[in-house]
């Protein structure tokens, strides 16, 4: 007899049933579509270039615009600046009003004037301003018989960031995405586990199964099967996401996510395992699918608390949360993305979560075994925990 390995048969069935389940396939494809679309959108907006057209009537204005365009090109930007000549000031004004040009550069009483049609564009203003300053300075210097190098000696400023490029906003967004994926997985797969348990209980097939294999084997098989599905699904999302980012050429910008993605997967698996058996307990306590909603309220509140805690907490609060099991699955990846975290910290958090997983699994398994055979109405948490 293969009673010791019966959980494998159960797990394989659990996986096969889900893989042929239309709603499961659909929701997975839907999530994939969202991932692809958001990567596409990110790449589109990230690579969007702006072409500025600046009108002028005066020869020295053209020199300023050309010089601005030159410094724009040498900065490596894909944006470009085009100078457009107008015969008269009136013609130029008309073109600006018609928004044929983005701005109009003309000499003013004590310098220059950059006119916009409605709202000013700060990057264009900066560009022209710098060019105006350098061009006028160079002209003034030449008048005074001083070379430009002498004038600007020692004035260069080099910008450097210790941690490389600052990605704090992007990191926040990735952390948010991780948090949502985890939250959706524990709710989504959790409800699936509970439904699969209550289906067997409601149809009494559990009585036939229980005469064939120890009920514990059935529980293990169910949990393992769903963890495999959850991990498979997240792996699929990551592969599609990273491949997509690579194809869009955005991987250079998102490469820093990779190291935290590894941690995220670890926290995802351990965090999900922690709560999976509790969902099986919910299923065993229910007598119909409708009972799952009310019986799972404590788990829902915990998951929601973990989600909001991980997203909104910061500083010391976030550090504390990042060690609390289940909450840590959201808070720690968030910290890993947004701040410097010592290597031992995620390891410790994972270990704490594993301990919680062991305890909750024992409790969940006990509730499951006590209630799976019970006929009649649903059991409350108070009743389930008392025995």
């Amino acid at each position: 007899m293969n009673q010791k390995n019966a959980w494998r048969t159960v797990a394989v069935r659990e996986i096969m049933v889900k893989l042929t389940d239309k709603s499961f396939i659909f929701s997975t494809l839907f999530s994939l579509a969202i991932i692809v679309v958001s990567i596409g959108a990110g790449a589109y907006f990230g690579n969007k270039t702006t072409d500025y057209t600046v009108g002028y009537t005066n020869q020295s204005a053209q020199a300023i615009i050309d010089s601005a365009n030159h410094s724009l090109e040498s900065s490596g930007s894909d944006d470009s600046l085009v100078a457009e000549n107008f015969a008269s000031e009136d013609e130029a004004r008309a073109a600006l009003e018609a928004e044929d040009v983005d701005a109009l550069l003309s000499p003013a009483d004590s310098g220059w004037e950059l006119a916009y049609a409605e709202s000013s564009d700060s990057s264009l203003t900066n560009l022209i301003e710098q060019s105006v300053v350098s061009t006028t300075t160079a002209a003034n210097a030449a008048e005074q018989g001083i070379s430009m190098d002498q004038l600007t000696a020692g004035s260069s400023l080099k910008v450097e960031t210790l941690k490389g490029e600052d990605n704090s906003f992007a990191a926040m967004m990735v952390g948010l995405a991780f948090a949502m994926i985890f939250y959706m997985a524990i709710i989504g797969f959790g409800v699936m586990i509970a439904q699969s348990v209550v289906e067997e209980k409601q149809n009494r097939i559990v009585e036939i199964i229980a005469t064939a294999i120890p009920i514990r084997q059935l529980l293990i098989g169910k949990i393992v099967g769903n963890i495999v599905l959850a991990v498979g699904q997240i792996a699929l999302y990551l592969i599609v996401g990273l491949t997509g980012a690579n194809l869009m050429g955005a991987l250079d910008e998102f490469g820093w996510v990779l190291s935290s993605a590894g941690w995220f997967v670890a926290f995802y698996i351990v965090g999900f395992s922690t709560i999976a058996t509790t969902w099986a307990a919910v299923g065993a306590m229910s007598s119909r699918n409708e009972d799952i909603a009310s019986l799972s309220t404590p788990i829902m509140m915990l998951s929601m608390g973990a989600l909001f805690g991980g997203i909104y907490a910061s500083g010391t609060m976030l550090q504390v949360l990042s060690f609390i099991p289940i909450v840590s699955s959201i808070a720690m990846p968030m910290r890993l993305l947004t701040e410097n975290v010592a290597f031992w910290e995620p390891l410790l958090a994972l270990m704490l979560c594993a301990v919680a997983a062991a305890l909750l699994t024992l409790l969940g398994a006990r509730i499951y075994q006590n209630n799976i055979m019970r006929a009649g109405s649903a059991v409350t948490w108070r009743q389930a925990l008392k025995k």
Partner: protein, 303 residues
């Protein structure tokens, strides 16, 4: 195929829920190669007893023996069980779930598949292997349920209301299947509240009433052990029978009567007397009337 010979002995099984006693001190034997009918009204405790036998419920006290030793998990794996409320996956193809159940009992997927296909074909479901259970009629779902319980060539069968919802033809097919298993020495216990079915099919009977076993034994023995009754028919008024010592007239309708011998040991003498005098009163028939299972059941559950 050689099947381990073994009878199932239920010894003093008791199940109480708080102050409520569901089954009280039940003892009976399910013998190999025989069909034992488990009779009782709704709520008599049949299902509770069967669930205790299958290890699904922990008995408050008492035990179940198989071949003389306590019944263990390995034995139960080799048993076939059909729960009262039918249990299979409604949204799955019937062949798939039968293979799964076979695998759980240690069959290979290939063996389970060929055996399940054969049995389903035998029950007329050969062309519906890939259909979902819920798309089948109730009677056909019941057939699939039967296949689930005998798929692994069980060494014993415990069936809770197996015939409810089956049309007469399906009952016959199922009885044939059970008989072929019984010929291999498999003990079969099935519960029912359909007296006529039990009367027709069972070699042995267990009558449960309010959690207590009221009668158990071979169907013939039980009938013999009942009151000794004779049916009398004649061409003249039969009122004179009232005066025959040692008898009691249970029912009298003109020339016909039903008599009961008060003292079983005096049967021969009383019979002799009635036969002699009956011939003078135009007697046409005089024969022993055995009680039906229904009479026994009503007698046992009257208290």
């Amino acid at each position: 195929m050689l099947v381990e010979q073994g009878s199932i002995e239920v010894c003093n099984l008791t199940k109480t829920y708080g102050s409520k006693t569901a089954v009280s001190n039940a003892s009976f034997t399910v013998e190999p190669g025989a069909m034992t009918g488990f009779l009782g009204a709704n709520g008599a405790g049949k299902t509770t007893t069967m669930r205790m036998m299958m290890g699904l419920l922990e008995p408050t006290s008492g035990e179940v023996l198989y071949g003389g030793r306590p019944l263990n998990l390995a034995d139960r794996v080799s048993f076939g069980y059909m729960p009262e409320e039918r249990g299979l996956y409604p949204k799955q193809p019937i062949l798939n779930q039968l293979i799964y159940l076979g695998q759980l009992r240690g069959m290979t997927a290939t063996t389970a598949k060929s055996r399940a296909s054969d049995l389903l074909a035998e029950l007329g479901l050969g062309d519906r292997l890939k259909d979902k259970l819920e798309s089948l009629s109730l009677g056909n779902q019941q057939r699939v349920q039967i296949v689930a319980s005998i798929l692994h060539r069980p060494q014993a069968l415990i069936l809770d209301e197996p015939f409810s919802g089956l049309d007469p033809r399906a009952v016959d097919t199922m009885v044939d299947m059970l008989h072929s298993l019984m010929r291999e020495g498999v003990p079969v216990l099935f519960s029912s509240h359909q007296l006529d079915l039990v009367d027709r099919l069972c070699d042995r009977v267990v009558i449960l009433h309010r959690g207590e076993v009221k009668a158990t034994g071979g169907a013939e023995e039980l009938r013999e052990s009942g009151p000794v009754r004779f049916r009398y028919r004649s061409e003249q008024d039969a009122a004179w029978l009232r005066e025959v010592p040692g008898t009691e007239v249970v029912d009298l309708a003109g020339p016909n009567a039903l008599l009961e011998i008060s003292d079983r040991t005096q049967t021969a003498a009383v019979r002799q007397q009635i036969l002699t005098r009956g011939l003078e009163h135009g007697m046409t028939e005089f024969f022993r009337e055995l009680p039906t299972l229904g009479d026994i059941y009503r007698g046992a559950t009257q208290q």
